[in-house]
């Protein structure tokens, strides 16, 4: 589904990360962990073609990114950005319908089938009741869920989520992680980042530890999310504890 080979990424005149390689199959979910400024968002934007590839290659659906136009990419990959500042009072339904733009002709408007897709997306995230509310009037968590719904309305094969849990309360964080697992089970490949290393255990089959733009570790969460790797990644002492079979948690040990 997604293949990244020896990728260097960054902005014009400034390289943020180099030599990143990984691949993601359909139905697989991968969690990217890393400190602030470690290059997670820049990596995601490069994969989505929002920033030019510096060197190396990104392939979506077995096709190199440079051969795809914006609409091709949008049909293959949905993007959930890190929070959204709403400017105008579009209703949640109108907002989610915008996810259909790569499937609607340049001169037409979304039709009944598109509406049904958008409504299903709202439904699946449990915010169907808010369909007619202005996006400017819902809570930050509800807006985050609306962003996920909009990405689902793209009907993508790959979902790229930049800290989808960042502005959510504890309950909504769990709900989004459950949703990630459920979506992966339907065959969508999911690439998401998080600031909470526990999320790698909860929502991903694989974890990628990205520090200073380089891959420190890549593999099954249990194999790569360890005390020593987290300490190297974040620069603070962390314990990874197994609480029962197959359940691990990360606990920072505070220095006093």
């Amino acid at each position: 589904m997604l293949e990244v080979r020896a990728l260097s990424f960054g902005f014009p005149g400034r390289t943020i990360g180099r030599d990143v390689s990984f691949s993601l199959a359909a139905g697989e979910s991968m969690c990217v962990l890393g400190p602030n400024g470690g290059g997670k968002t820049t990596l995601f934007r490069t994969i989505l073609g929002l920033l030019p590839v510096k060197s190396g290659e990104v392939r979506l659906n077995e096709r190199p990114l440079y051969l795809l136009d914006r609409a091709d990419i949008a049909r293959a990959a949905g993007y959930v950005p890190q929070g959204h500042s709403a400017y105008f009072a579009f209703t949640l339904l109108e907002f989610v319908l915008m996810g259909r733009s790569a499937r609607v002709g340049a001169f037409s408007s979304p039709g009944r089938a598109d509406r049904a897709v958008a409504e299903r997306a709202l439904e699946s995230l449990g915010i169907a009741a808010l369909a007619d509310k202005p996006v400017t009037e819902v809570s930050g968590g509800e807006r985050q869920l609306a962003l996920v719904a909009r990405a689902l309305a793209q009907e993508p094969k790959l979902l790229v989520m930049d800290e989808p849990t960042a502005s959510l309360d504890f309950g909504n964080q769990v709900r989004v992680l459950e949703r990630i697992l459920a979506l992966a089970a339907t065959g969508i490949a999911i690439l998401f980042s998080s600031h909470d290393p526990d999320h790698a255990f909860l929502g991903a089959q694989r974890a990628l530890l990205l520090g200073e733009g380089r891959v420190l570790e890549l593999g099954a969460p249990k194999a790569v999310v360890r005390s020593d790797t987290l300490r190297r990644l974040y620069g603070v002492p962390v314990e990874v504890i197994e609480i029962q079979d197959d359940r691990r948690v990360c606990l920072p040990s505070l220095r006093r």
Binding site: D69, A74, M98, S101, A106, Q154
Partner: protein, 335 residues
Amino acid sequence: MNSRALTYGCALGGLLVLVLAAFAVGRYPVSLAEIFHLLQAKVLGRTEGLPANLETVIWQVRGPRVLAALLVGASLAAAGSAYQGMFRNPLVSPDILGVSTGAALGAVLGIFLSKGILLIQLFSFAGGLAAVGLVYGVGSRLRGHDPLLALVLTGVVIGTLLGSCIALLKYLADPYNQLPAITFWLLGSLAAIAPRDLAIAAPLALAGLAPMLLMRWRMNLLALPDDEARALGVDTTKLRLVVVAAATLMTASAVAIGGIIGWVGLLVPHAARLLVGPDFGRLLPLAMLLGAGFLLAVDTLCRTLAAIEVPPGVLTALIGTPFFLWLFALSRRPW
């Protein structure tokens, strides 16, 4: 759904009433019965027996002026609606990229060089297009910045430069002949509209309106942050260029025949958005109806309030300022 239909209905009905009123009132008052008589006679092709004055007033004086007010008002409101969405800011007017300043400089140059009215209009139209072309050309080459911010800042800077050029020409102009003409033009006026002006401006405005109508749904995506719109499959650079070209065509043709009439393009889209929400497909028709009605009402007042013509730009500001503050205080939701 029904309340929305009611909103459009009221706007359309109000506009028709305004049009009739605009034909009726003035230095030579005309009754509604006379207007219908004239219309009937025109349709049936039997114009003999009607007072000659009546035909002149309705057909040659008020008719073009009413149509011009409708055209200019609707054009400015449409361009303002498009820009407010695209710049994600409800306080943006169609002049933000310098179209009015460029058009003003063109017209002032035409007056300064003592050209005829047609050339002055042509200069004005070309000046508006050239100013926006320059702003867009420079602004879109400033890489490494938010593309919208780069455009706005370039617009402000180049607008200021063009403003100084206007000031220079005013300083150099003949204070008895040219300066009053320049001042009059800069305040805007629909008093001297001829049918020929409409025949030129209307097709240009329609050419600008067509892409807006066709892409009315897609326009909404410009209200999203650039990255999001692109990730949803929209080539924002291309779409923005289309919107800028369309809005500039509409504004430049309006300014070329009516001069600079402020506030319409800022206030009307804002009011329309409060009534039907930000969806461009619903916003555009209502904004055009309201813009046409607002400018027609203003222009009718301009020619009836006092013994001399009041410049419409002055009146729109007098009405616009308190109305805008009232709207602002009234609206609890953010746009």
